[in-house]
Amino acid sequence: MAALEVRGIEKRFGDFKALKGIDLATGEGEFLTIVGPSGCGKTTLMRLIAGLEKPTAGDVLLNGKPITPLPPRSRNIAMVFQSYALYPHMSVADNIAFPLKARGVAKTEQERLIQWAAGILGIEALLHRRPARLSGGEKQKVALARAFVRKPSLFIFDEPLSSLDAQVRAVARAELRQLHDRSGVTTIYVTHDQVEAVGLGDRVAVMQAGALRQIGSPQALYRDPANTFVASFIGTPPMNLLEHGDTIIGFRPEHVLPRPTMPVPTDVATFRLRITRIEFLGAEWLAYGSTNEEFGSARVLCRLRQEAVDKIRTDEIQEFVVSRSQLRFFDRKTGMRTAPVPIRGESA
């Protein structure tokens, strides 16, 4: 049975269709990330699940029971906002106690649960402080403790890491995932950062313009994007997309190799590229190039290892190869995956 299920959810704001019929289901204890560019409707979807907005059409089910008409406080869903929304005039301990007091939990039990939640997140020393005197990372932990302490049926995180420094963010990401694995509570995590989505989620749902474009494991999304949007959204740098007749050919930057580095090129497609600039990334190099007119003079990025870079000269047209098994084909009109089409190159 799905922990959370969303059936045909639609939401309009006046004439604007924010969500155009979303179907989604999570497994018990799953960590599902929802990713998409800003304005794609992901936050609206979260607010509908939490009960802060009412859907125009469709249903939300939690553990098999429809909760669409219920107010937020009857849903037992905990949400962590991007701003953390800590109560500014209450101490950390009172912040964590707030959901317990609202539920009428006994005083001694409150004390025990506050200590328990604070212990898990390592914030025992902060319990008497006011939120104004906490750092961003500490605020995030308090918000997590407050969400955690009431043992909800579902966690919703709305970009909880985006207001942290890059360094703190990496640590917080690992802690968040650990917290989920320990508690086993089904979690929905919304972000616009595909690196975060792919790194954290058991499964990733990609949204665009109010619709769900693809849902699957991070590996499936990366290797077999269902359409050009997912292909160009997931991966840093994204998949190269070249127009070729009625199809679009896609391949990942790390699958491009200069022809001389492949002693016996078999079953590959050949592309003639002009590399204009090479950037040093540490373990590898990033080459910026473009194709000839045959592929619409498209921009192509290549991630190359040191030995491949030695074979490259800038501002010259050279041959590059991509293994045919790594090529993906999309319909040029709809952007959806299609069957492979033949292109130039050596076959086995």
């Binding site: 939490a50 009960g51 802060l52 107010p71 937020p72 406080r73 849903r75 869903i77 905990a78 949400m79 906002f81 701003s83 929304a85 109560y87 500014p88 005039h89 209450m90 707030f98 959901p99 007091k101 609202a102 539920r103 407050r146 009431r150």
Partner: protein
Amino acid sequence: MRGQAKRQERARSEAATSDDELPQRPLRVGIADRDGVVGAIMLAPAVIYVIALVALPFFLAVALSLSDANVGNPRIHHFVGLDNFISVVHEAAFIFALRNSIIITVATLVLLTILTILQVELLAREFPFKRLAQIILILPWAMPVALAAIGWLWLLDSEYSPIDWILRAVGLLGPGTVLGPANNLYYLGREWLGIGSVIVINVWRTLPLSTIIVLAGRTAIPRELYEQAELDGAGYFRILFRITLPGLAVLLIVAILFTVLVIFGDMTVVALTTRGGPGYTTEILPYWAYLKGIQGGALSQGAAIALFLFPVLLAASILVLRMAYRREE
């Protein structure tokens, strides 16, 4: 290597062209660059205002209250000590004026606080015809005092009061009813109805200002805080008392301080309605000071009465400001 040299050359040529095109400002320090001078000029109007219109009148009032000056002989060089204060305190009107000043101020405050919170909670939400409601709620503030006085005097008239008319129509007033045998209530002719009328008018005219002040604070509370509280399982009253009111505390205190200062020192409402009567039963300190000092010509006694207001206002100001600062920490 070559590419790098080329880039440097380009950067140099760009810098050169921008140097040619942008005229340099002359290096000079004007009067506006000297913080000390600018500060003094900016502060001067406020300092002059406080000295001329607050400090001087205050010390003049103290001097008057310790002299035997009157309208016929307004010289203040004859020192009489606390004689004025002693004689004022022994007058029958004093105890009424002090009592009524305190009752009217406190009752206005209590009613105002409750109504302000209700109005702010109402205006913080979306509902049909909200614009119209806002205009109506703000109207008392925009209405000229004279116009408001005419309206209130009619509402509280001893014979033609529309309130009495409605009460009679629904069978609550007149011979053989709950509110007595008379056909009218005579709002301004009875001690407690008079005081009550003054309180109602005070609340009516100060409510818009305090609502605007507190509404500014209400809209500054982030909406996510309310959504978080809802998700945390809080009901309406828990949200009101644990989220809204603590968030409004500072501005509520400011609004209350403002009102204490306005109401306790104000005489216009009493002057336009009961004139302190019947007898001294609805007398208040500022109106009595005006009657004695200006109408009666006893400048020194009028000043002494007015000075009774000072310690109360000073204490209220200090207390409330201190609370406001403590809240902010």
